[in-house]
Symmetry: none
Subunit: 422 residues, 2 copies
Amino acid sequence: MRPLRRAAIVAVGSELLTPSRIDTNSLLITEQLNLLGIDVVLKSVVGDDPEEVGAVLNAALARVDVVICSGGLGPTDDDVTRDVVARVLDRPLAEDERISKQIEARFAGRGLHMPDINRRQAMVPAGARILENVKGTAPGLWLEEGDRVVVLLPGPPRELKAMLADLMEGALKARAPGRSLVRRVLRITGRTESHTEETIRPLYGEWARAPVPIAATILASLGQIELHLSAGAVSRAETEAALDAASLQVIERLGVDVYSRDGRSMEEALGEMLVERSLRIAVAESCTGGLITSRLTDVPGSSRYVDRGVVAYTNDAKTELLGVARTLIEEHGAVSEPVAVAMAEGVRARATTDVGIGVTGIAGPGGGTPEKPVGTVAVAAVIPGLTRSRLFRFVGDREHVKAQASQAALDMVRRMLLASSQ
Amino acid sequence: MRPLRRAAIVAVGSELLTPSRIDTNSLLITEQLNLLGIDVVLKSVVGDDPEEVGAVLNAALARVDVVICSGGLGPTDDDVTRDVVARVLDRPLAEDERISKQIEARFAGRGLHMPDINRRQAMVPAGARILENVKGTAPGLWLEEGDRVVVLLPGPPRELKAMLADLMEGALKARAPGRSLVRRVLRITGRTESHTEETIRPLYGEWARAPVPIAATILASLGQIELHLSAGAVSRAETEAALDAASLQVIERLGVDVYSRDGRSMEEALGEMLVERSLRIAVAESCTGGLITSRLTDVPGSSRYVDRGVVAYTNDAKTELLGVARTLIEEHGAVSEPVAVAMAEGVRARATTDVGIGVTGIAGPGGGTPEKPVGTVAVAAVIPGLTRSRLFRFVGDREHVKAQASQAALDMVRRMLLASSQ
């Protein structure tokens, strides 16, 4: 039998086509398939409509080695997956007495009589292997059609999870290509997506032709760029080594702009640096409204290095809580580098910490002026022996400005700590 | 032209086929299409592989009236959607000078030179209508093939959202079937999902049989329950009226536990109440680490009522910044109702605001004790003439505890304001 290399995941259920529900089973299925070296090339969601399910199944079967379906195995009229698969693969359905008895026993165990409709769950297409459901009534099914495989799993996550775990040790493992796919996420700040791409692109060809080929994808999100590397080799250690080497090549080219090579967040990366250096931090925020402190304290154990945060939304609060001179605000405006520096110095002095952050800006939508439009944010940081500040112009709505400003502030401290330890 | 009744949504991007990313753009697209009476019958996710994208597009075009694609319009090599659609619909691509100039201007506005690769974003298939991107560089495209339509939208949610809003008023609206599916989200706090379900369930049958039938779904998330109502009628006004009446029935049964009948967030609901009553607020946080203040300041215009926030992570900070007596902390422990009340009173007195919030707790994973395990959070609020406090035991990891505690604190103030104005 050919190994299963390419997979499609099909989620069946009309509720998954509404604006408030999303198919998350496919994330678990993808994780497990990747561990066996099986790539997921397509995911689809389709409603409880036999014709649509049939069309999606046929389209998927034309392109992949294995189709994993979840959902639509229940006892009611709108559970159509079993019937559709039987039709698409042209297999007659027959009741499996052993399954009916198991379902009856399950109901009896709860003091209930099995409703007649549950008999549908015991209908099995000819030639199917039955996958036992230890967590519910609907059994799963494994069907082979030549070299290809169709797997039907129940929709409820706990039932699906248990059944998938069995497959990972059994039928799926037996057909796996035996090459394990590993992913690595590098996070980058301080450059645009296109500039990152231009710098990295020369590596793509080399990676693609390497003994352990590496695929790369660049993603832009607020205040950062992500570079996703993935590779698959027979040995997991070999794959990890190839990804380590590729990560180093990226770091050689992008330098300290790479703040994370294992997917960790900016606040985790900075937190680790503070712990390593035994430094404590205090934050003075205006337009970010507490977001910087909230991000810092999202990290378990952050109480070791976060002393306090002050959200000084008004000028009075800046003066009272942080000791920012009124004359400084009058002279430069509340949104200015000198005021940001005074905020950082003020909170640092009052908290007697090593590091202080000060951020003041206009998050919008109101409050902008021609000289200082919405998105103007002054960021300052003080560490022992070093003070920096910068005026940013961020683009986007209120939440985006807050997100970018918080990222810039944490990144400023990170870079200062790196510079001062060299 | 035939109206567009059936839609498929295709998300393009290899990262969306990994175990850690999910396509959420399709939720927004579904919501908007439904508002125009267009059903979504299929959703697919496909990687940055021209052949796979082509296969998915062809399969979708065979079954629906309109295909909405998101993603793959960026400037890099792995952005393939534009090229694939041109090939599938057999349209030559040519550079649109106006778009190149706009992208150049966008870079120039940030003091940058446009990298050459961005020129790809100006390539347009023959006969395509260009959808302007006010939030980014990649323009969207609208292509007609007989009665059918293919729409290409950029992947970043804020760019997609703005472009979709334009289509809803323009090209899509013009081709809508004219029966509008309206959804209403009620948000509920202070009860479990099953209690909400038990109380609401008697209404389901009545709603299903009404002249404008209403479908209901209950969804639980952190610190709140959502009740989604949806109905479709020829007249939008008739649908809205039916949903208004159903919402009132729910509010009659659940009372002030319903804090939002139009999907607005807790911080928006509370912000509006503060504005109506001309009250100002200050926040003292420990375990929530700034999250409460950050949520309050996520609301545009919140500078009218938010004075300050203090994140007092250490006992010293609680004493210095908020005037919490050391003896009170020694007597009751930092995580206690008396300390939470002292924090709320302290920040309110120092900020001279009307409302004060105090929150202190153990977010975990460390710091728990047998008497005060992880998840123990004391929440207090002070409004003119009224003080309340409560000790919560939340379940979940650090971020979940922070989220639930921030929700409980904002909700406490909301309920106190309601009680005091009666």
